[in-house]
Each structure stands twice: as structure tokens, then as C-alpha cells.
Point group: D3
Chain length 256, copies 6
């Protein structure tokens, strides 16, 4: 099967890291198609970055489905554009935030999320609420590390995240930890060992859930909020029939 993973931001190093992590997690027989949203901001921190990233992200996802992807992953912990993506795609689609939280609930009663900046906290809380994942969430904590700082000084980042994990366990009653940014993935195993609780990273969680959904033959329902958009009679159509917001959108190629 083919699973697409789209980085909603335009930072190449993150796209490559994400693609690598997805390929590590994939089963034999799963091909990962990785895309980058060149029309997006360099990182997604808060409502505005997220909103501006969505049109390009939807374009990339439409390309991915045309390229044969059976399922799709939005590689931002904010699950940017997830609901809109579910409306235009035939295959199932998940964001790495929702994916990580779903896996955490399999092995613990209450989990906490450690994310980057506090500007993202209400976004994550809204996403968890919408996905029915709030009642088991002990807390969403911000490490106040900007997304790109994770790449710049991983050791300092690791220490700061570890500190927040300790607080989530002690003060909030967390029994599992969800790492709330794609860039934290490498820390999962050592943090789990140090703190004695499961630590879930979103890219790999999303790959396994999408593999599961494809194997089970599940596709996003085309009813209710996910009904296929009615065609609009002006603009908003790509030459190849996909929904979009401008005819000048770039033709994307998967990242190898």
C-alpha cells in the first residue's frame, strides 16, 4: 500500500526527518510518499501559521491521492487542516497529534501532551476535544521551545521536555506521554525509559494507524461534515479536476 505524509510547512530538513521517521515505522510493503507544502510557513506555531498552511496542504494531499496514496498523514502536531482534508480525500487521513493520542490511550488511562509553544495549547485542546480524546487527557503542557529550536539544540530541548514530563506525571497524574511535535520523535525511547511511562511519537503512530485502516478497508465516510464539497462555478478548480484555490498552484513532486 501507499501512504502519503505531508509536511504542512516549507522547511526541507523537517520534511526529510519526517519522511525518514515514517519509512522507519512502515511495514514491508508500505510505500511512503512524502510531500512538502512549499506554499506554507517555515514552521506552524499557532492559529495563523496553521490557517495559512491549509490551502497548500490540501493541494499536496490532492496530489498525493492522484499519485496513488491509499491513506494520508498530516505531519503537524496541530493536525492542520484535518477536517478539510477528510472532505476531499477518498482514503483515510489522520494528523500526527490525533494519532499519538489515540495510541497512548491503548496503554494508559491518562496521558499528557508536551508541545512546543503555549500558543498551540488551545489548538491541541480543541483538536483533542473534537476527536473525543479530551476525557483521558491529563494536561497539555508547553515546553516553550520553538519548533526549530528542537533541531538547533537537541540536548537542551531533551532536558526541557524531560522536565515537563516529570511535572505531568507528578502534578497532573499522567500515565503516558504524547510528544507534541514532529521534531521530538528521536527522544521517545530514552524518555520512556527514564520516566517509566509509555512515550508516544506521532509520525510512527500515524503510519501504523493508517496501515491498519487501509488493511481493514476503511475509507472516510462521505456524509455529514465530510461530504464531498459541491463544485463552485468559478476559480477553485485545478486543471486536473482537484479542488484548489488558484490555478497557479505549483505541481508537487514527492520528496525522496
Amino acid at each position: 500500500m501507499r501512504i502519503s505524509i505531508v509536511n504542512p510547512n516549507s522547511t526541507r530538513s523537517m520534511t526529510e526527518t519526517i519522511a525518514h521517521a515514517a519509512r522507519q515505522a512502515a511495514a514491508r510493503g508500505t510505500e511512503i510518499l512524502a510531500y512538502q507544502n512549499d506554499a506554507g510557513p517555515i514552521s506552524i506555531e499557532g492559529h495563523v501559521d496553521g490557517a495559512l498552511a491549509v490551502p497548500g496542504l490540501l493541494h499536496a494531499l490532492a496530489i498525493a491521492e492522484r499519485d496513488g496514496a491509499d491513506a494520508h498523514i498530516i505531519a503537524c502536531f496541530d493536525d492542520t487542516g484535518l477536517e478539510a482534508a477528510r472532505s476531499i480525500l477518498k482514503g483515510p487521513v489522520i494528523g500526527i497529534g490525533e494519532a499519538a493520542a489515540r495510541m497512548a490511550t491503548l496503554v494508559a488511562r491518562r496521558y499528557s501532551v508536551i508541545t512546543t509553544l503555549s500558543v498551540s495549547v488551545p489548538i491541541l485542546e480543541d483538536n483533542l476535544s473534537r476527536a473525543g480524546l479530551s476525557s483521558l487527557c491529563a494536561s497539555v503542557r508547553a515546553s516553550e521551545l520553538p519548533v526549530l529550536a528542537l533541531e538547533a539544540d537537541p540536548e537542551a530541548a531533551n532536558a526541557k521536555i524531560s522536565e515537563e514530563i516529570a511535572r505531568a506525571i507528578d502534578e497532573d497524574g499522567a500515565e503516558a506521554i504524547v510528544l507534541g511535535c514532529a521534531g521530538m520523535a528521536d527522544f521517545a525511547a530514552s524518555l520512556s525509559e527514564r520516566h517509566g511511562v509509555p512515550v508516544v511519537e506521532g509520525v510512527s503512530a500515524a503510519v501504523k494507524l493508517m496501515e491498519a485502516a487501509v488493511t481493514l478497508g476503511l475509507k472516510t465516510v462521505k456524509r455529514g461534515g465530510y461530504a464531498t464539497p459541491r463544485p463552485k462555478d468559478q476559480g477553485f478548480v485545478y486543471p486536473d479536476g482537484m479542488i484548489g484555490y488558484t490555478e497557479s498552484a505549483p505541481v508537487l513532486e514527492p520528496v525522496e
Copy 2:
């Protein structure tokens, strides 16, 4: 004071209707600045239309604040882009969906929303939940009338909406009705009289709430999810310093 009202879609007749309704509701001394999102779809029906409308909408709102608006109204019942708008604007901002529901709770214990298509129902439910307005909401009902059908055959639309109102009162226990589309505004008074319950329309509700907020000196807090976005070092900046997603965005002029 100056209040901006932005139509997130690109249909001129709707922009004019909205601007007219806002000016009718405004107090003496309130100037209404109306804008149209020419980069948006012709109507907003569902997640995708909404997502694609946001960048242009944010651009229009930024223009509005530059033009001196003290508060802002997003004239789509889906409250398209509201959270992102609150992050970039100094003045208070509201969507007509949230505004109408807030006013309904002043005069009844439980209200129902009658919207256009069922594709919008989960969006409205999510918005009400996020705004803390769910617990008093008896139901969100779809009339299955497309947005533009309201303009095409108002009489048939009125009959269909009246039927849904009767059901909301009888089956769901609604004590007030929120008309879930800007195009339904003219029906409010007669529907209220016929059904014996308050019927609230969003544009006028939003104008009065924004007038109230400005008079009270309230501005959107710049903390948490509404913190001002950190500047990104590539793209995403307008020549005049406002946040945007492309340098080629059109310069908007208010609609008279």
C-alpha cells in the same frame, strides 16, 4: 467608532446585503467598513470552502484594521477563521454564528440553530462547543437549502426554514431560534411572530456586540492561543507589514 464586516466569500450581492444589514443595525456614530474576500469561493459550504477562504479573509481583516476599524465581524455563520483572526487583530472580533447564539442565550434557556446544508452542522457544533455555547444548544438543524438558493427563491426558503423551526420547538425543546446563514436575515421578524419565540439573526447581533465591546474598551487578549504570531523569516509578510501568505495579495477597498 468603526466596525469592519468582511464577507469571506466572493459573491458581491451577498456582500452588499450584509453591509446593508450591518448599517441598519449600527448605532448612530458607528461607521461600517464592509469588505469582500475576492480570493474566496463564491459561497462557504463546509470545511474546504472555509479553509480556502481564510488567507484572503485574514488579509481583508488586516486591511480593515489598517483602515481604522475598532472591531471586526466575520460575516459567515461558520465563523470562518475566527481564531486566527483573533491572533492578528488588536480590536475584538466575532463571527455572526457565535454572535447570534450569544444573543439568543439572553432571552431563552435553550436555542436551536437552523442552518443551510448538513455539511455545515459539525462545523457549527464545533464552533459552539469551542465558544462554550453547547450546553444551551438544543439542536443544529440543516434546511438543506444551499446558501445561494436563499437569494434565488426566498419564499420557498422561508417555508422550509419555518418548518425546521417548528420541529426544533416541538422535538428538540428550542425556546429561541438562531438563523444560521447571513442570507436568512430578512426572515427573522416574521418567523419570530409566527412561532412565538425569539429569532436571532447574526449580522445585527454581531454589530451590537462589537459596539458593546468597543464602548467597554475591550480588546482581544494577546496571550495563549491569541498571542501575536512570531515573525517568520521568509514570505508571509505584506509590504505594509501585515501578515499574509503571498506578496501578490490584492489591495482591498471597502465596499460601499
Copy 3:
């Protein structure tokens, strides 16, 4: 338009302060009719004071409607007697507690209330829950300042309230503050500036919301819990046909 504001307690200095604040907030063209409940306790602190204040308060509100008031404000942060008032009045009516919380939700995701004594905390929590305002409420905190102490030593009161605001922001995640007593109104602007969050005061919030409701033509629904009380065949009727609990209730005159 005419808006009545009724002080449910019998302390003249508070009635005058409240009337002044309401007139400050009112738009040109809005006449404020202020009443004092001479049959009430000197201040309302807890369930018993509140319960004993209601009959006189309802009497005053009925007088106000007879005097031509289009909308009504109950000037106690406990929203004393609000549900009963909605049952007897044609115009919309609000308490200053509900009004302040509603305005706070326009400019922040989560707000905290700083009230006087802890005896009032469950009352405010119940009111917010009934009004659908709980899910956005970060906390209700008591300063343990009695109502009348606010008048006696405003500076000390201000310091104590400021301290609680700091805690609400730091410990509870508040992004806006609601001042939970009519006597705290003068502190709002300076506290907002000091703490960098919106600070909402109830009297002015209530005036603006009632002006908005009247302009929109909204009246309290006469169904469900707000249905007009069935006439009882003994006692409980005023000579002028208004509902009451004794024929000897005094004829009230508005406070100038």
C-alpha cells in the same frame, strides 16, 4: 430606550454608585431608571441574603416595567432572582454576573471571576453553569473582602484583588478577568493595564448587552421556565395587577 437597574440590597451609597456607573456606560438616548430594594438586606453575601432579597427585587422590577423600562439589570453579581425576573418581565433582563462573563468570552478563551466572599463561590458557579458559561471559566476565586469593605478601604481592596488576579492568570490559566462585585468597577481599567489581560466589570457590560437586546427587538421568551406565572386566587397580587407577595409592598420611585 429605557433600561432599569435594580440594586437588590438596601444600601443607598451602592445604589448611587451603580446608577452612576450605568449612566456612564449608557449610550446617548438610553435613559437609566435606578431602583433600590428597600426590603432587602444591606448587602448580599450568600444564599440567605439572596433569597430574602428576591421578593422586594421582583416588586422593584415590576415597578420598573410599569415605568416604561424596555430592559432590566439586576445589579448584584449573584444574579439574584434572575430566573424569576425573566418569568414576570416582558423585556429582556440580565444580571451583572452573567453580563460580565458573557463579555469576557468575546475577547479571551478562558476567564476567571474574582468575587468577594467564598460563601458566594458556589452561587456563582451554579449561575455560570446554568447560563452555559462554565466550560470557559478557569476559576471563581474569593478575595474574602466583604462587599462593604470595598467602599471602606478601596486601596487595600485593590491590592487584594490584584493579588488574586495574578494567581488566576498564573495558576488557573485565566486570560481575562471578571470583577465579581458591583463595588469593584472603578478598578477595572488599572487592573487590566497592570496584568495585561481584559478586565470586565458587570454594570457597564449589562448596560451594553441590554441596549443591544433592545435594539435587536429581543424579548424574553414566554415558554418553558419563563412562562408567565398562572394567577393564584389568593394573596400575591398587587393592586395594580403585578405579582407580589403582600399587598402592603411600598410603591417605589426611581433613584436619581
Copy 4:
């Protein structure tokens, strides 16, 4: 032990019915002191009747405690004045609405309440919510029988109530029924047999719960919202030191 039961309304026949039912339910050794609120309306139907009944009811309860009552029952299904009563009384106090719902939850997962008029439905819903009894409540249904109609034509009333019980079981999933008015008590046994579900009546439920509380030595906590009211320096004090709203309140004698 001594348990007081106060009829918040002024209808003597109801007071006698209630006193009789309480004495039937009482254990040997329990003395029932019954009082009538002569200052109350003839029946309590909705917010206004309830609000006007409270001062006299509190007076009666204070008399009851002076007369040696160890616990107290408010004999109106609306639990009129319950929170205020808990603030002034040393012994535990319950309303018959809360009592019946509490007993129903011992023998079924979900219960429905059948009350008199729809004007009372939001009051009962608020009471159940405040008492933590909402999540197990399948529905609150109104038979639209006025309180005094139950006395006037018991057979017709029984048929109407039975019809609502059938609907509660079939449509709402009720597994037990709470009879929502003191006047329905005689119907409980036969309705239970006919419908095959427990049917709980409030007066007897309240007597048994108060007997239980007294035996266990439980008294209402004097903290938080139930803290003893601070003395006010004018009016509002009875000659014998009890809290009240006028010095001319009548001296009550228990009803035999």
C-alpha cells in the same frame, strides 16, 4: 428523633396530606413536625411562586429547629429554597425532589421524573444538575396537570401520569420513575406494578434519608456556600435571634 417537614405553600389540605405521608414513612421513634408556610402562595408552579415562598419557608424552618427538629424536609418537588435552608440550619435538610431522585438511583441506572407543569422542568433540571443527579436522569417530563388538579380528579391524573411513564420507559430509556409532585404519592405502588419499574415518591424518600443522616450523626457542613450568614446590622433579625426578612413574621405552630 424529630424531623420537620415544611410545606412551602399555604394550602392546608396539601400540608395535611404531606404530614400524613411523612408519618406513615417514619420509623417508630421518629416524630414528624409539620409546618405550613402561610406566607407562601397556594401552590408552587415555576420560578416566581418558588422565589416568593422562600422567606416564609426559611422562617418556618428556623422555627422547626428551635422546636427541636434534628433534620428537615422541604416538601416541594422544586426543592424550593434548599441551598438557603442549608445555610441557616444545623441539622441536615433535603427537598423531596432530590430525595426521590437519590433513592431511584439505588435501584436503576436511569430514571425519569414526571412532574406537573412544564414551567417546572428547567427548575428540576437545574436542581438535579446542582445535586450531581443529571447524568443518570433520562428525562424530566411534564404531565401538564396543575398541582391542585391532582387533588381535584385523582383518577384522570393517574391516567395522564401513567401515560407519561410509558413514554419515559419506551422513548427515553427510563428504568425507574420519580413522581415529581407531593400530590402524586398515593399513585406510586400501583404505577410501579403496572409498569414493572420502581416508582419513587419524594416525601417518604426524604423521611428515610433524613432518618439515615441523623442516625449517622451527619450535619450540614458550615463552610463554602453553606457558611452561616454574617449578621446584618439592620432589619432581618427575628426577636428570637433567627434570620428573617421582617419582624412581623407570624409565630408558627406545627400542624397536627
Copy 5:
């Protein structure tokens, strides 16, 4: 009347303590039948102990009903096997955990539970949620005292529990305390006096609630989840017709 109380564990000294406490709380005319689950673990600490205790517990309860018990008490704070017990018994049945929490809500707005080990906290939280008692629960705190340690060193246990009570009041806003283990019963009165809040113990609370239910003629509904189990055609039937899991279960005799 006859009320059975079953100790789900096999520790004789606890059975005797429980039987003694129940007989102390019982009214004249109430006979307490006490049973011990010899097929159970020596104490119940967590999910596994509880699960393994249930078959023997159900057997004991069936014996108790055959012996003429009108109502039943499960004497473990985890309310072990309560739902299954309600399915096989005609009389009402309660666990001491649910009983204590129900009595606490009669005299305070919010209560906290102090239990033994943290392994039991999620069990208690689930039980309270299922019983509709969560919304008034301020916290469930573990003293980390094993069940049998309460017997071994009561003074140290008392000190540790008192410490947790102080925290529940100060940090969680508790206004009443529920002692979360049968072995803590003797401490209730002195702890209540020391901390100035009601302290409820489960065995006596359960006895009084079951006496109340029997007097009111209430029996567990035989519908929904409590419907009588359909007979299985192999195994699972006792010689005397009671449901069970093996024919070799011992014949139990009440403990004197």
C-alpha cells in the same frame, strides 16, 4: 428486616469488624446477616483482586437472598461486583463506596474520598462516574496505606489519613470526606471533629440506605443491564438453582 453484608475478601478479622459496624448502625428490628467470601483474596487492592473475588461474592449474595435477606451490602469500598450483583438479586444492593458518597452529598456540595492505595483510584473514579457521583467529587486521594496496615498500626494510619484530609480540604475544595476503606470506620468521628467537616464511613451509610430502600419497598429493576441473566445450558448452575460458575462452590454460612 434482614440485610446481608458480604465481605468480598477472606480475612476473618475484617469480616468481624464489618459485621460489628453494621450491627451498630442497624435499627432495632434489622437483622444483619454477615458473610465472608472464602474463595476471595485476603484483601482487595486493584482490578485483579476485585475480579477474582466476584464469583465467590455472587455466590455468597445468592446464599444471602436464599437465607431471607431483603437487601444486600458489598463491604468493599471498590463496590466489587455491584453491577453483577444487581442482576441476580431481587432486593436492592449497594456497595459501601457508593453508599458513603451518596450520604456525603446530603450535607456538602463537594466531597473527597481518601482511599488506601493508588491502584484503587481509577476504580473508585469509574464507580463514582457510573453512579452519577463524579460531578460533586473534589478528588479521590490515596493514603498509600495497604488495607491490612490499617489494622496493624491504627495510630499511624489515622495520622496519614488526617494529613490527606487536610490536603483535600485545602487544595481540592472538599467540604466533606468519604473514608475509602472499611477499615477506616473507627476514625470517622474524631476526624470530623478535628477538621470541621462531615466524615462519612461506608458500612453504616450502606446499612441506613438499605434500611431506607427496604422500608420504601424498592427493589432493583429487572430491565436493561439488570435483567435477570438468561439460563445457560451447561455448567454455571448451582444445585439449588442459583447462578454460579462451578458446581463445587462451598455452602456458606453467615458469620456471627
Copy 6:
């Protein structure tokens, strides 16, 4: 990897059906170890059957882990004994009820469960609530088909289930269906096609989720309610060191 699947009941034909379904769903490289609980009832319908099945089920799961299983599936839609199982097993474990609901939430906003008998409805509702899956659940509906009737007359069963699915979609707003019994698995694909919504079956969903968890290296946390049970000093230990309730438990062999 090795995944165990345990049928908590003693019906061989169901064990074989379940084992077959699991092997169909398993990835290459996944070995399915299937066990049958010979000490359980012939089917699990309601609280009592479930409670009696748990000791044998835990025994079988302990055997499975000794046999090298990396993860575990409880093959009853009631998720019988799931919490206790998580306390004794190192690997992750899931019930087919929770598994199916989790997969449904990936492809639809709201799902309904169609189960067998109404006696199971509260059990499923409690499980969904505990697992944080309630808020997205539109309804749990009973077809009133006993478990073994599904095998006896599959065509009639299919028709009845299809009817309930139609009602769930039309009346409850379901957008996906969870088949609430292991015996319904074969109907999933045709029902999905007929009704145009995803239909999820639990055995295959559980296999894929456990494969995902094992690949991600996730193990159940050993804290809180899932902490390893403290050893008891009498009985309750298997010869091979596993926890149990009697030394005479049979040695189980996997079903081929």
C-alpha cells in the same frame, strides 16, 4: 510477532470463528495464538456472565503471555476483564469493543454500535465512557438477537442488524457503524456497501491495533490502576507463578 486472542466463553465454534477472523486480518509475520476460556459460560450476555468469565479469562491470558504473546485481544465485545488484564500483562491488551470503536473514529465523526441484547447496552456504554469514546458515540443499539442466534440463522440476523443500522443513521446521526458482537464479523463488508457508511468489525480492528502497538514498542504502563498486583500470601498463585484464583485451574493449550 505473536498476538493472543482469547474467547472468554466456552463455545468452540465461536473460538474457531474468532481465530480464523484474526488470522485473516493478521499481517504476514504475525502469529495468532487463540485460546478458549473453558471455565467460562457458553456466551457472555450481561454483567453476570461477564463477571464469571473473568478468572478463567485472566488465566488464559497469563498462559498466553507465558507462551510468548507480545500483545493480547479479549474477543468479547463487552471487553470483559480488560482492566484486570491490563494489570497482569506486560504487553498491550485490547478488547474487540474498544478496538472497533477506536477504528470507527478514524473515518467518521459519530458512530453507533449495534449489539446483541439490551442487557449489554449499559456495559458497552460504561466501557466507551471509560475509554474516552463516549462523546463521539451516537448510540448503542440492541438488535435483541442472542449471541448464538447469529450462528443459527445468519440471514435473519443480517436483516435485523441492517434495520438497526438504518435507524442509527437516520435517527441518531451515525456516520459509521460498529458491529457489536464477534459473530457479526462476516456481515461488515456487505452492510457497509448497502448503507454507504464504514462498518467496523472488532476482531480485525483489534489485530491491527495490537500489531501497531507492538511495532511501536508500546507496553501497558505499570502505574496507577494498572500497577502489578501486590502478591497475596495465601491461595491466588498458580504453580507457574501466575496470578489466579485456585490452584486447580486447567492448563490451557492454544486452539489451532
